[in-house]
Amino acid sequence: MVNLGIKIHELDFKNPIMLASGTCGFGEEIADFLDLSRLGGIVVKGTTLKHREGNAYPRMAETPSGMLNAVGLQNKGVDNFIANIYPRIKDIDTHIIVNVNGSTIEDYVALTERLNELDKIPAIELNISCPNVKEGGMAFGISCPSAEAVVKAVRKVYSKTLIVKLSPNVTNIADIAKAVESQGADSVSLINTLLGMAVNAETRKPVLSTITGGLSGPAIKPIALRMVWQVYNAVKIPVMGMGGIMNATDAIEFMIAGASTVQIGTAIFIDPTIPVQIVDGLALYMERHKMQSVSELIGSLQC
């Protein structure tokens, strides 16, 4: 039996396969399809201090090997999460991680303080990379000083595992990763979606209500792999890789490029059983390659 366990900061993950925020709801929406306890972790839907209705419909467009979305962090706010959702999901036997969003540094801090109270939330993923909100979001993640400022403020009030989710819409993602590491981030996750757009040639109108949106799916996998590899080589903290992972081979490629864990996102829309298939596929791969531990795989790229 191979050991799929991996440690990120102080957290032991039973395996490196996680679900990406915004693609798995709060876990319970897909519980019919798969045994959530077989996963390393679940990053639940992006949460904000206050209720957000999100952007107007239409919010998605299918693109070659991928899709654009412009949901805009629709969620009922942290109070609703704590009162209604947390009690229902807290005993799922996997790490439940909350994706944290804000328009201002004060928002991020206030929201983090609320989540800090929750025993069964061992980590947060600080989202400084959402491309679909007008204020905050990606604005924090595209310059080193603003990324440093938000991570520094949140680190002061949060003692558990702090993951920072990075935007690919930057000139040099390794610089941003180093900036957040310098302020005490325990891990970085990447990549969030790439800013893109779709046009309807017949109507000459944008397909999305917001004109631009975030591109995900296999179309972005080569970019994500490149960025994971760059960041892995630039920082000491563990990297969580994501971007177009559709099967075990994709996940393994990210780990070889330097990811300690991977997050499965858009693939869930196509087949919500894929994440568990990837857990099984990873174990088979390790047996076939006579590996005892996933740490042998991480960053094992032979250039």
Binding site: I30, M60, P64, M67, Q74, P218, F269, I270, P272
Partner: protein
């Protein structure tokens, strides 16, 4: 039944007219909990540039034989590719998805209005509702007789009326011009509709004015079909609701129509 990702065997693929096909699928497990208004998300295999599944509403279910029949109208590359599938292939589906229409009670007089491929759940509801066929009225609208699908099999379940925009079948005009709609509307206790947005909105507004029970089935573009992508939202009186899980069936009272 639990939502499931499941391969179904394509038993039959019948072209009904230029753009509409009837796909009959065999399930390996019982399909006892699929009701009118619910839908199936179908994977389109081996098609360039098709990434997401395509949702189709259920036209019929044979609970004993464990078969599901879908009405597939060619709207784009995805649906076109699906209509080219040959019997004998396995088709990956996710089902059952969404909420069904509220089934009528035994004293109800119902009017079912289907437009285009929206006729599918209307026929299924007529068949399944269990009412005396005298109390089931089905109004079907299409552009022309050539766009109509054969509903012979469903005739025993209700009274059928037709409209076409060119007058080639039934009354000329829209469903809202048909006498059963213009003159008899208040005789109905429940109105159900599925079809183009403009048609449903016209019906929904009149139902609201007349304070009639009216359920509509929306068709917003979606990625997942089970409530995690939050892309298919409808702006309702209670805020954004997912068409895939809060719908696709909505009471017009809850919509901002």
């Amino acid at each position: 039944m639990k939502k499931t990702v499941i391969d179904l065997l394509l038993l039959e693929n019948k072209q009904l007219n230029k753009d509409n096909f009837l796909l009959k699928l065999q399930s390996p497990v019982p399909v006892s909990d699929i009701f009118p208004g619910q839908f199936v998300n179908v994977e389109i295999k081996d098609a360039q540039e098709i990434f997401l599944r395509r949702p189709f509403s259920v036209l019929d279910v044979d609970y004993q034989a464990q078969t599901i029949t879908l009405l597939v109208k060619i709207l784009g590359r995805g649906s076109k590719k699906l209509t080219e599938a040959q019997p004998g292939v396995q088709i990956s589906t996710i089902l059952p998805l969404g909420k069904s229409f509220t089934l009528p009670e035994k004293d109800d007089h119902i009017l079912l209005i289907g437009g285009g491929s929206g006729v599918a759940p209307m026929l299924f509801l007529a068949k399944l509702c269990g009412l005396d066929p005298e109390n089931v009225h089905v109004l079907i609208g299409a552009r022309s007789i050539t766009d109509h699908i054969d509903i012979e099999e469903y005739k025993p379940f209700g009274n059928f009326y037709f409209t076409t925009e060119d007058g080639s079948l039934g009354e000329k005009g829209y469903v809202t011009n048909h006498p059963v709609f213009t003159n008899k509307l208040n005789e109905f206790t429940k109105i159900y509709t599925c079809g183009p947005d403009l048609m449903m909105k016209a019906i929904g507004r009149i139902a609201l004015e007349n304070k009639l029970f009216c359920e509509v089935s929306l068709e917003n573009m979606m990625a997942c079909g089970f409530g995690v992508c939050l892309c298919c939202v409808e702006d309702t009186k209670a805020g954004h609701k997912c068409v895939c899980t809060d719908g696709p069936v909505f009471n017009v009272n809850d919509l901002k129509w």
